[in-house]
């Protein structure tokens, strides 16, 4: 799969296609990180667009004002988004269900209003331009400029791989077991000594930090950011990727991100009807595929397996 991901932009070498690939990778980071909250805490956060924005603005402002390179700005953006996630998580995670979702919607609103209104710092609704690009770097006589799409794609892909590795390991080892136990039965989990509150907070902050990484990547790719990209609609869009893909797996958010980035692009032929079809598709998917695309895949697998079994018995 990694191999395919590496080869894709070489096969489709048009700039427009490469742009879509980069967008898919950034969206995948967002979806996989939100997937930690949705899948393993069982909560729907509507503040992910805000963390994405916090990462983007932190990274952009640090590199503009302090003149530091991208590879310093990125970790700082991750750190700051993580801290914000921690601070917002402390109050928000005292709630659950609908209440958690709406509380995060409130924080999303506050963050975006802060970005819009701190005009001196963020230049408000006008947007922030002049973000320095990554590189160019000279290594072994080679000049790599991340202004070009292909190198940037690999850069983003590398970050995505790190995010995937962290998420997978998180869930595979003791941590992950604790997460799942906490989701399935918080009371029982607490009774066997799992500090559920601490795990929920850790997962939420980690998820926010990863969204911060996506934000940093986005800022240094687009070179211009404005509050419009980080509104509630962005949060809802990311949440949609996770749910459409199918929850509680890493694969689900990944598939959701790919599909929900590619589909609107593919629907461009419809012109003004693009989002009409998109909305329609959302409703149809929920009604007919309640477990998301991954659920569909599972059903297909199970069917083929049962076919195998019957042939064996026969």
């Amino acid at each position: 799969m990694i191999f395919v991901a590496c080869l894709l932009p070489l096969v489709f070498s048009e700039a427009f296609h490469q742009h879509i690939f980069i967008t898919i990778v950034i969206n995948s980071i967002l979806a996989v990180s939100l997937g930690i909250v949705v899948g393993y805490l069982g909560e729907l956060s509507l503040a992910h667009g805000a963390f994405f924005g916090i990462g983007a603005y932190t990274s952009a402002l640090i590199s503009i004002n302090l003149n530091v390179p991208f590879f310093v700005a990125l970790p700082l953006a991750v750190l700051f988004a993580g801290i914000m996630g921690y601070l917002i998580g402390i109050p928000a995670l005292r709630l659950s269900g609908h209440y958690f979702a709406i509380a995060t919607l409130g924080f999303q609103g506050i963050v975006i209003l802060m970005i819009i209104n701190l005009v001196d710092l963020t230049r408000g609704p006008m947007g922030l331009g002049g973000i320095p690009p990554v590189g160019p770097y000279h290594i072994f006589g080679l000049t790599i400029s991340f202004l070009q799409k292909l190198p940037y794609y690999y850069l983003a892909l590398a970050v995505l791989l790190i995010v995937l590795l962290i998420t997978r390991n998180l869930l595979r080892y003791k941590f992950g077991q604790a997460f799942i136990a906490t989701r399935e039965d918080p009371l029982l989990a607490a009774s066997i000594g799992i500090k559920t509150g601490r795990f929920r907070l850790l997962a939420f902050s980690l998820s926010a930090a990863m969204a911060g990484a996506a934000g940093s990547l986005y800022a240094h790719y687009a070179l211009f950011i404005s509050p419009d990209s980080f509104h509630l609609s962005e949060s809802i869009y990311i949440a949609t990727m996770v749910i459409i893909g199918g929850r509680a797996t890493i694969l689900g958010p990944l598939i959701g991100a790919i599909v929900l980035t590619a589909v609107p692009e593919a629907l461009r032929f419809a012109g003004g009807l693009q989002f009409v079809l998109y909305g329609l598709m959302l409703m149809v998917v929920v009604i007919f595929m309640p477990k998301g695309l991954v659920g569909l895949l599972d059903r297909f697998k199970r069917k083929s397996r049962s076919v195998q079994l019957t042939t064996l018995e026969g």
């Binding site: 949705v38 729907l44 109050p91 005292r94 709630l95 659950s96 269900g97 609908h98 209440y99 979702a101 709406i102 509380a103 919607l105 409130g106 924080f107 609103g109 506050i110 209003l113 802060m114 819009i116 209104n117 509630l232 609609s233 809802i236 949440a239 949609t240 749910i243 459409i244 929850r247 003004g272 009807l273 693009q274 989002f275 009409v276 998109y278 909305g279 329609l280 598709m281 959302l282 409703m283 998917v285 929920v286 009604i287 309640p290």
Partner: protein, 294 residues
Amino acid sequence: MLEFVPQLIVNGIVLGSIYVLVALGLTLIFGIVDVVNFAHGEFYMVGAFLAFLVVNSLGIPYLPGIAVAALGAAAFGFITERLLIRPLRRRASPPINYVLVTVGLSTFLTSTVLFMVGPDLRQIPSPYMKQMIHVGGVYLTTHRLLVVIVGAIIVGILIYFVKYTSLGSQMRATAQNFQAATIVGINTDRVFALTFVIGAVLAGIAGALVGAMFVTEPTMGMTIIVKAFIVVIVGGMGSIAGSVVAGLGLGLVETIAGVLMPSEFIDIIGFSIMIIVLLTKPSGIFGIKGGQGA
């Protein structure tokens, strides 16, 4: 400064009446059907556009225009419950799927209207916008008075309906205990459909009122739904009295805050109040449901 206070209070009540109308539907749908309806703002937007259409294109007077908007919104509410909510409920879907399906509906309705009429700002022609009333130091258009009167009448009818009619007590029973309500023979399907219709009608009327006072545009639903969430949370999900008090309160707070600080900061106040209420009393000031409800 002080002489503006009565004017501010009146303006706040007008704004608050709109919040109440939209939030009431949202809170009823939450309390009874247990669905957070992200498409609620779009019922409001559809109401405004229906009124605009019949008043502007067909030349129907404004007041019957509101009635047409209400009827149209009722149809939208009914269809939504039948086509989207009922199939999910039959399958006992997780709450997250209701969020997704209503988000899909919201996107669908907003972009359909955007596709059909474009993003221009429109205003429903209301004859009452030109008539001024002057009482004491307070100036207001007849239209603003109409907003408050219509709001008050509707809240009155709704409270009477929910408290004193058979269908109303069926609604309350379903809200309290869905299974018990089914056992005693209440047609809960009908109750859910009715709740959606009522919610949509209230939002549609609010839209038709606002569309003449401010502007009618395809994305107007997105702005109002956030306010409605604040009102519903502060008032308590499922509580009619809570929505009325919190809605009027938010209208007043926002109007008064508008004088004291730059207008961009006003929305932060609403969100902050909401979060404080969520943390201290998640069931809201008049709430019945607990904070742990899924």
